[in-house]
Symmetry: D2
Subunit: 339 residues, 4 copies
Amino acid sequence: MNSNTFGTAYSLTTFGESHGLAIGGVIDGCPAGVLLNKSLIESELAKRKPGFGAAVSARKEPDEVEFLSGLFEGQTTGQPIAFLIRNRDAKSSDYDNIKNVYRPSHADFTYQEKYGIRDYAGGGRASARTLLPCVVAGAIARQILATQGITVRSDVVQIGEQCSQGFSAEEIERILSRFREEKDTVGAVVQATINNVPVGLGEPAFMKFHATLAHAMMSINAAKGFEIGEGFNAARMRGSECNDEFTFDGERIRTKTNHSGGVQGGITNGEDIVFRVAFKPIPSVMMPQQTVDIHGNAVTLEIQGRHDVCVVPRVIPMVEALAAMVTLDFVLLKKCNKI
Amino acid sequence: MNSNTFGTAYSLTTFGESHGLAIGGVIDGCPAGVLLNKSLIESELAKRKPGFGAAVSARKEPDEVEFLSGLFEGQTTGQPIAFLIRNRDAKSSDYDNIKNVYRPSHADFTYQEKYGIRDYAGGGRASARTLLPCVVAGAIARQILATQGITVRSDVVQIGEQCSQGFSAEEIERILSRFREEKDTVGAVVQATINNVPVGLGEPAFMKFHATLAHAMMSINAAKGFEIGEGFNAARMRGSECNDEFTFDGERIRTKTNHSGGVQGGITNGEDIVFRVAFKPIPSVMMPQQTVDIHGNAVTLEIQGRHDVCVVPRVIPMVEALAAMVTLDFVLLKKCNKI
Amino acid sequence: MNSNTFGTAYSLTTFGESHGLAIGGVIDGCPAGVLLNKSLIESELAKRKPGFGAAVSARKEPDEVEFLSGLFEGQTTGQPIAFLIRNRDAKSSDYDNIKNVYRPSHADFTYQEKYGIRDYAGGGRASARTLLPCVVAGAIARQILATQGITVRSDVVQIGEQCSQGFSAEEIERILSRFREEKDTVGAVVQATINNVPVGLGEPAFMKFHATLAHAMMSINAAKGFEIGEGFNAARMRGSECNDEFTFDGERIRTKTNHSGGVQGGITNGEDIVFRVAFKPIPSVMMPQQTVDIHGNAVTLEIQGRHDVCVVPRVIPMVEALAAMVTLDFVLLKKCNKI
Amino acid sequence: MNSNTFGTAYSLTTFGESHGLAIGGVIDGCPAGVLLNKSLIESELAKRKPGFGAAVSARKEPDEVEFLSGLFEGQTTGQPIAFLIRNRDAKSSDYDNIKNVYRPSHADFTYQEKYGIRDYAGGGRASARTLLPCVVAGAIARQILATQGITVRSDVVQIGEQCSQGFSAEEIERILSRFREEKDTVGAVVQATINNVPVGLGEPAFMKFHATLAHAMMSINAAKGFEIGEGFNAARMRGSECNDEFTFDGERIRTKTNHSGGVQGGITNGEDIVFRVAFKPIPSVMMPQQTVDIHGNAVTLEIQGRHDVCVVPRVIPMVEALAAMVTLDFVLLKKCNKI
């Protein structure tokens, strides 16, 4: 059922487990003739490295990407672009203690029950690391979108109880260090904006721009909520305050406000796409937890090693990458709307 | 790109405009040998009729469904089930005044720009009415799910500023009547629960149960937000409070709490699926609004006729129907996980 | 699994049984702004009517198409185009005698075994009539292709042992009348040509132009073989005689010969697409046949009523329609090859 | 548009160019819990090695497959199985002379025109080598099918003008050596049989077993024709001779003959699937050919190096592999026919 593929015209198929030989992906439908800027890709991947932010797990992940196909003299050829990221620093023996235990709010139990087998090392296929190929496909998408003037950016706007227009890296680290000391973890909200989006992206009825974007964002590990424009706040509002009145700015038709978040009827209206994704706390807390083993016996679990305290800042390149992939997909699909 | 099709193993293709001859759909992949209970389908459709709740538009919509194929002596044959709902009461002349005007926060502008042409009568393809075929496909899905013990129900938990565990039809009507008097509209939140879901539904990495559910829900007109389990509230929480510890209840492994909303790693864990969808206010307010015509000229718009004040209660069968469709799809797909 | 849908950018979902209320389809992805020429559609459908050729079954099939959606003031809107063809003249009682009998080389047995239920009247979903929606979708495709100068035509080049460059309607009727007198049926080969195809249609590795075309043609009832260019004859040839050498004709690069049938590496090379489809004899012979009933008891079957003697001439609009659908699909998909 | 993916429930995405770093694939939907027999995979790949048959190109291709994901302790986990085959012996400089020349009946011209860029070394993405990942996915499919008793085998039944029930390796080599001496190449026909196929595989209307099989086979390089059962011969036949009468063999309903090739109405009937694929001569003849360069200038081309004389015997594992993939796909899809 091709459940590891995302996208229609510009698509990505991902593979790999956290502690397997490699994770990677195959991009299908990348337009031909694009001179790939690999340093942009590496710089996006670098944002996921430990050391980019301090509030992350101590595992060394060089995350070097190796391109295997689809490029000729540095340019895309229109053929599938396969790439690998080797898992170099993985030590599976670290995970022997969780081999037979279901960690609370992890995917251990559901994978085991569904498939009758699971790669337990580092969360296997359920690890957040397995979405890393999206960062590569997203970085390529961003490069192509940039030629159309379209850009993506995002901010951490909430960590636990604290909200902001956008926390700085230092502020994030300061907040997270408190939770780390308490051996606990915390949730967060990321807000992203896609700028300079042309009118007309999104394909009703079931490939609406924001519905597809929601699908993408909810595919990120730990994502529990998605909203666009006013989002949940729109439920509190009256039509008279939530409606975006149209106006003509001398050049093109615009809306005076952007409560819609850039989408009306599932199609972009030319205003900025503004959306937020809520993430739950990382379930790997450092304090003892009650759970069961695979036989149903009660056990007290103490998770070893160092783990991230929060999905931010490392989830940020993921959010931006998937937003870019969705946008490029719709830019390509739009070409088919007229003959 | 088949953008009017939703679902993989159990899929629905929809067609039709608000004021065209008919709206309808084609269900593909419905298991064979199911004796269709048409009164269940009609009863779901009836929940969308005026008079079911009073706070709805006065248009008469008998919404009788005519099945054209895929049934033999009342049973499904495994072949595509096509059905029609004729638009009997539509008067397109009612809409001449909006032919050249872009109503704020409607899809008039985006459809016109994207396609260069639009069926403006009653919102055309962008009307909420065009998702009515989902209610039919959902009612059939519910009937099949019921044979597995799986059920879906939902509640209106927020209207404007007011929240509840679940408003009664009378409470909904009382609240909405206030907004109607003020010629305004209002947003709402619907919470739905899928009960008795087996462990193992959902197909990572990109057909996760909740990501696909989010996609479905965000496809409903006016939906601006989706959350599962703790949702946006999870962003405020610590791991130690948000984690769902496992326990063995003598029969099977369960979680003590259900902050996850029944999904871990994108796969159902056997607990109830609990999710919420936020809807913006219906944009057709009865007071004058500033907007532009298709040439960019400023105009003052006064929307005629009677319109719904809020998506609830009429959106409820839609939410439940799409939830049932998604669940049945994954029930079928799960059959392929093992040989 | 959407098995009743064919096509990617320009797709058709079909439904309906031979003797149900109606057969029909939903076209998704038709470009917006095309003024539909309904008489072209009707003229294609007319080619399937009894009386068009005499060597066809006597059932009256007016085959009037009713469009339900996707059109506004006669133009396509980019929204799904649904249409119906009512089955007016069907008498299911004619088929009571085959209710419990498996007709040789029909789909009675396989449908019954696969689904545990079947609509036996007139072959139900397995009737050739159920591909009639392709003629509608194909006629629309042809109209759009015509604006690009692309045309499709076909000829009957073989009936039984007799071959020709292209039999006339009279010749076909004369040959078939002999088989009709003998209460037998006969196979045939249709050759089709797509002219003025641009270079670059087809998407390797698995949506090659000719592989997709083969898929389409083999979906037609009674099709048993497909070949492109030299086809099976190529197996007899040497490279030195089968190769198509390139030349420059002053305007563009051409091939001197067209053994390839217009496709190289799965992509059109600008020469005519030439392909042939082999059809088996219609299995409804008028003489007694030995077979079994659904319980496995031996029975002698004598098929009642009048049936076609050969798939030609009625299959011709089907072949051309599917060829047009495939071609338009690739014309649209090609738009995504470059940004 | 995911054109490099084939299959629905059991799918393969391929990537790689003939002379790039590697070719490979990602299998999605492989059932969990299968202990992979890697020696079976290697033995299938070995059939493509030079030395297996002598009548093949002299390029050394160790074709070792490296599995990157989807396996745990040797068993499939239900997660995507990615694998690589490194291109170790490739020397791109060998191809400088064809960099600017369009070889007759190769894909050089069509790729260049379609994408504006091509990897010319060794045919790049258009090389037959790029379908090698199908052999891996097919070998895994065969292993799973074997647990159901389903097997696939094939024979070379025609080379040039010579026909046989199935040529031996020695006979093939003897025939091909003649063409090699004459610096020419030759076409061939491969016949394959799928045994012990259960009744009920294939999903009408557009995923008929044989239509999907045709699609798969026509995706193989140099394939120009496909037929099932009597195939093109059926066009010569009468219904009374081509029909397969049913009989009951004491255990199950069978057909007395198998002119249908195991498929009726697009669904397998429990008899052997018998089909043939016609391949054109390999276009790389060793004698001078007239063609043009990328600017349209006439040039005389003399192809260097050693090339295969015929697609057989190397195409055989490809045919069998794709047949196995298609069959397994339908075995899985059939699980969804009933609840």
